[in-house]
Amino acid sequence: MVPPSAQSDLAEAIVPETDRGTPVLEARDVHVHFPGTDSAGRPVTIRALDGVDLSLHAGQICALVGESGSGKTTIARLFALIHSPTSGEIRFKGEPVKVRGGRAERAYYRNVQLIYQDPFASLNGLKKIRTIISRVVKIHYPRLGRKRTQERTAELLQKVNLTPPERYLDRYPTDLSGGQRQRVAIARTLAVDPDVLLADEPTSMLDASIRLDVLNLLSDLRESEDVAVLYITHDIASARYLSDRIHVMYGGKVVESGPTERIVSAPVHPYTQLLLSAAPDPARFKGSGAPVHEAIPDARPVDTTKELRGCRFADRCPVATPRCTTEDLPLFRSTEDDHTVQCWQAENAAEYVRQR
């Protein structure tokens, strides 16, 4: 059964940087470029990630929000070694990760696991749940013996609330509902006892009614297994619900990051503000007379193919100034909490000091 809810309280969520120790997984100034073609077939470089710093800490859920194409998935895949950075490095528990194939990769995957967006696609439809999960156990604990492996498989299913496990072990993924499949997928990632879970929109393919259960499961696992979770989402409301920290991405950059409530209640970056005002909020139901959001002037997606000085958001930004595009993008850090923002807007508030 689900453990009692851990009230995600404002005060608890803000953990000072120093207390968190070394991050389990960390990206340092990574750039990822993809070759692509533009509409006329000319080769261009897509800057999927453009100088990203990000760290994940044990027992902490870190949310990554941003519009489509902003590079969220790329970060997850970078951490999962599916892509390699064009420049910059990834550190695992302080050690730079440089593996390519073989045993080292396997060892890395024992610590870092990826949960996919589409549970219908990420499980092999021709294999039984038993095979899907026990195979991972076998790969990583080959000496466990058949009986122990089976026991462990059952335990894993229990961990993700698929009880009793016998009911599911001999079924095929097609026989399960989306939420159940996603749980199986999570159980598979737990088979290795990971330190980091990378969840790339784990609920966006699921029905609203079962989304929360999966989110709750992640939240509980964070507590019980002390894993670090990277939660990628479009839906800022669910990020608020689940995470301790939010990173807002735009055009391959983390434009603002900080404790969840801080970001949601007092965003500094105009893009974060835009995102928040655009997100539907049940509290603003029609007839409530609640203040409405600002008009959205422009909703063009970002173009990351050009090298640009300064801020990519500038041409959509209602408060942009000439220096946004003439000077390098600044980085401001709050002195009060662990909040950073890449926008000149922060300059006016005394609380922020410029880092870069």
Binding site: N161, F285, K286, A295
Partner: protein, 373 residues
């Protein structure tokens, strides 16, 4: 003239109800049933649906996946395709020009022609799929304009199309473009502009914004609302995103297992929904500005339409289900304000019956509840 500004005036719930009360009926749906004919049996995806829609009303339809929202919408527009068939029911359309209402469910394709697009138009979920990829955008506008108003010249139709496009913030020169040359959001906006081409009385929208980004979604919604405010058409807006519906709809119908289980204003559904399913669904959307509490989804999974549980379709997942709920199908009845199809609230049971059932439920709790997973 571009419709980019969000609507300025904001009504209260009472104002909305009054407005609806004042305006005349546009669509009156009675006992609508739609079946999908499949090899493994017929799926009744819309079962005995009753709805009324007033002129200028925005009616939201929400529900889990496979609850029959799209099916209903297609049936309203007489757009079902193989293997769907409207098997029963009436759809009375009350034309705004004051002529006699007609049951469009009984019309054949030729008789329907005068209603199509000039009275009822649609916006489908995927713009990419809805625009013919090999026909230039302009032609897709002008052909419908000129079909319904043959007297309009090609040039005039074109001018009209340009106006429509500018209205949704797309430059007029894009008329010569092929749909795939537009971005997803632009396609969606073009589709919405297209739906307004013949000044319809009713626009049926099936998840018009699910495929686009939040920011784009918001922009599109603003444009729809602004256009609606200006032109006064009624909208049936289908989406699974209840929080979105709450923001934009006058009234909301909640569907479950092919049935409408509750109808009410956004305000009511937000704070005092009468059906347990509505409440559960409502809770499934975490708030953005209210305090965060631990929430939980709805246990179990949506019903298999081929093997519906006896009684209320939701009874197996319902925390409040009474013994009767597993035996009899509750009716969708008028309550004030709105309608509900739950024995607890729809007034179908007398007070003692209800009390008796509640007592029976509490005596044997959990009995019929499915496991959480």
């Amino acid at each position: 003239m571009t419709l980019t500004s969000a609507p300025q005036h904001h009504e209260t719930e009472t104002e909305i109800l009054e407005r609806l009360e004042r305006s005349r009926t546009l669509l009156d749906v009675r006992g609508l049933c739609v079946d999908y004919v499949t090899e493994s049996g017929n799926i009744r995806a819309c079962d005995d649906v009753d709805l009324t829609l007033k002129r200028g009303e925005i009616l939201g339809v929400a529900g889990e996946s496979a609850s029959g929202k799209s099916t209903l919408l297609n049936a309203l527009g007489r757009l079902q395709r193989m293997p769907a068939a409207t098997s029963a029911g009436e759809i009375w359309f009350h034309p705004t020009d004051g002529s006699d209402p007609v049951d469009i469910a009984t019309l054949d394709e030729r008789e329907l022609a005068p209603y199509r697009w000039t009275r009822i138009s649609v916006v489908m979920q995927s713009a990419m799929a809805s625009l013919n990829p090999v026909i230039r955008l302009g032609e897709q506008f002008t052909d419908v304009i000129r079909t319904h108003a043959p007297e309009v010249s090609e040039a005039a139709a074109r001018a009209q199309a340009e106006e429509l496009l500018t209205m949704v913030g797309i430059s007029a020169d894009r008329l010569t473009a092929f749909p795939f040359q537009l971005s997803g959001g632009m396609q969606q906006r073009a589709l919405i502009a297209l739906s307004l081409a013949c000044d319809p009385d009713l626009v049926l929208m099936d998840e018009p914004t699910t495929a686009v980004d939040v920011v784009m979604q918001r922009q599109i919604l603003d444009q729809v609302l602004a256009a609606q405010e200006r032109l006064g058409f009624a909208v049936v807006f289908v989406t699974h995103d209840l929080s979105l519906l709450l923001e934009i709809s006058d009234r909301i119908a909640i569907m479950y297992g092919g049935k409408v289980v509750e109808v009410g204003t956004a305000a009511r559904l937000h704070s005092s929904a009468k059906h347990p399913y509505t409440r559960a669904l409502r809770r499934a959307f975490p708030p953005l500005s209210e305090p965060v509490r631990r929430l939980s989804g709805i246990p179990g999974s949506p019903p298999d339409l081929l093997a519906l549980p006896a009684g209320c379709a939701f009874s197996t997942r319902c925390g409040d289900a009474m013994p009767l709920c597993h035996q009899r199908i509750p009716q969708l009845r008028d309550i004030d304000p709105g309608r509900s199809a739950c024995f607890l609230t729809n007034g179908e049971l007398s007070d003692e019956e209800l009390a008796q059932q509640l007592a029976a439920r509490d005596a044997a709790p959990e009995q019929h509840r499915e496991d959480r997973s």
